[in-house]
């Protein structure tokens, strides 16, 4: 399923135009990105929580040369699935 499929379904079910729905979906996703960049998290009840985790700097190896190279600390977006969604997917 892609964004286009979701937009299509929502437009059909609400009577809103595809353009209106697509704009809202895009803005929704963009804003989640903005929040995470600002270090905030977003909790969506019944779905899950988007947040940012910090990965510490670590040493890794170049597999070709065997040299140690430092991997700098970085931020990664994570999504914690709500219990409700887990149960739904597990088929309970």
């Amino acid at each position: 399923m892609t964004k286009a499929d979701i937009v299509e379904d929502i437009a059909q079910r609400t009577g809103l135009t595809k353009k209106e729905v697509a704009e809202t979906v895009d803005l929704f996703l963009d804003k989640i990105g903005d929040l995470l960049v600002d270090g905030k998290h977003l909790e969506i009840r019944g779905f899950g929580t988007f947040k940012v985790k910090e990965r510490k700097e670590r040493m890794a190896r170049n597999p070709r040369t065997g040299d140690s190279v430092p991997v700098p600390s970085r931020k990664v977006p994570v999504f914690k699935v709500s219990k409700m969604l887990k149960d739904k997917v597990a088929g309970d």
């Binding site: 399923m1 979701i6 609400t14 809103l16 803005l27 989640i32 977003l42 909790e43 969506i44 990664v76």
Partner: protein, 93 residues
């Protein structure tokens, strides 16, 4: 931040009123949930993808009693962030 606060942020930037925005946002989650429940994956370009992994059944232990308990096979949803989103978080656009 909650869903309601996010809806407030995007209402006004779209042509839709708050009520319609809430409806659209709720239907996004519903679509993703239904797709995952039927084993489908959802790809949102520039954002990330939602997929389902299968976990095999395994024997685990009740940490309190030490009894072996059978954990049945199940499907678990997960999110993989796009490279764009990861790059944005680290300051390279």
């Amino acid at each position: 931040m909650t869903k309601a606060e996010l809806v407030d942020l995007i209402t006004g930037d779209t042509g839709l009123n708050r009520r319609d925005t809430v409806t659209v946002v709720n239907l996004i989650m519903e679509n993703i949930g239904n797709a995952l429940a039927s084993g489908d994956k959802v790809e949102l370009r520039g954002f990330g993808s939602f997929k389902v992994k299968s976990r095999r059944s395994r024997l685990a232990r009740n940490p309190r009693t030490g009894d072996a308990v059978d954990v049945p096979a199940k499907r678990v949803p997960y999110f993989k962030a796009s490279n764009e989103l990861k790059d944005r978080l680290n300051g390279h656009d």
